[in-house]
């Protein structure tokens, strides 16, 4: 089972005693804040967790894998996530989280 917004809301409800409506709204603002910032072209750095940065991709030739027709993949901007040293160590079983 994957973790979704609903589990985060339940966690805030049980660990902090925020009511469900508040917990839901705070959780939504958390992801919205990150998304809006990235949409403005600014990166987001969450110390102890990781950085969301933006990369400019040049146009490149591509192919539709289904039809084999060649097309040009246009220039675009994409989001990349770089986990912090701390998170990398934590998921590998050494070091405390945050």
């Amino acid at each position: 089972m994957a973790v979704t917004k609903a589990e985060i809301v339940d966690m805030l409800f049980s660990t902090m005693g925020l009511n469900k409506r508040e917990a839901k709204s705070v959780t939504e603002s958390f992801f919205e804040g990150i998304r809006e910032t990235l949409a403005k072209g600014e990166e987001v750095k969450l110390s102890g967790f990781g950085n969301f940065s933006l990369r400019e991709k040049n146009p490149r030739p591509g192919r539709n894998p289904k039809t084999g027709i060649e097309i040009t993949i246009t220039a675009r901007r994409v989001v990349t996530f770089h986990p912090s040293q701390k998170l990398k160590a934590y998921v590998n079983g050494d070091g405390a989280r945050e």
Binding site: K5, L18, V26, T37, E43, F49, V91, R97, E98
Partner: protein
């Protein structure tokens, strides 16, 4: 944007909640996400993206200088894939391939 700026952003949307609560909620969310990844659990946030753990199995590598075999232990790496909405908001041109 840094973590403290994200906290300010969320606080501005919740004038009735003490900033201290928003700060704690942010910390709880990041710890909860870190714990999920540490337990190799997927995280799926609609419209934002998903986090998962990529596991690179143990392998026998070679020291390129000496040619000596070395055991490279299994490595776990957190991975993020942007969701459709985030991808579209961040890109400047509508995608030509979908």
């Amino acid at each position: 944007m840094t973590k403290s700026e994200l906290i300010k952003y969320i606080s501005a949307k919740h004038p009735l909640l003490p900033p201290r609560d928003i700060e704690n909620a942010t910390r709880h969310i990041l710890e909860y996400l870190s714990d999920a990844l540490q337990q190799d659990e997927r995280i799926e946030i609609r419209g934002f993206g998903s986090f998962s753990l990529h596991i690179r199995p143990e392998k026998v590598g070679r020291n390129p200088r000496t040619g000596e075999s070395v055991r490279v232990p299994e490595k776990r790496v957190p991975h993020f894939k942007a969701g459709k909405e985030l991808r579209e908001q961040v890109d400047y041109a509508p995608a030509s391939v979908s």
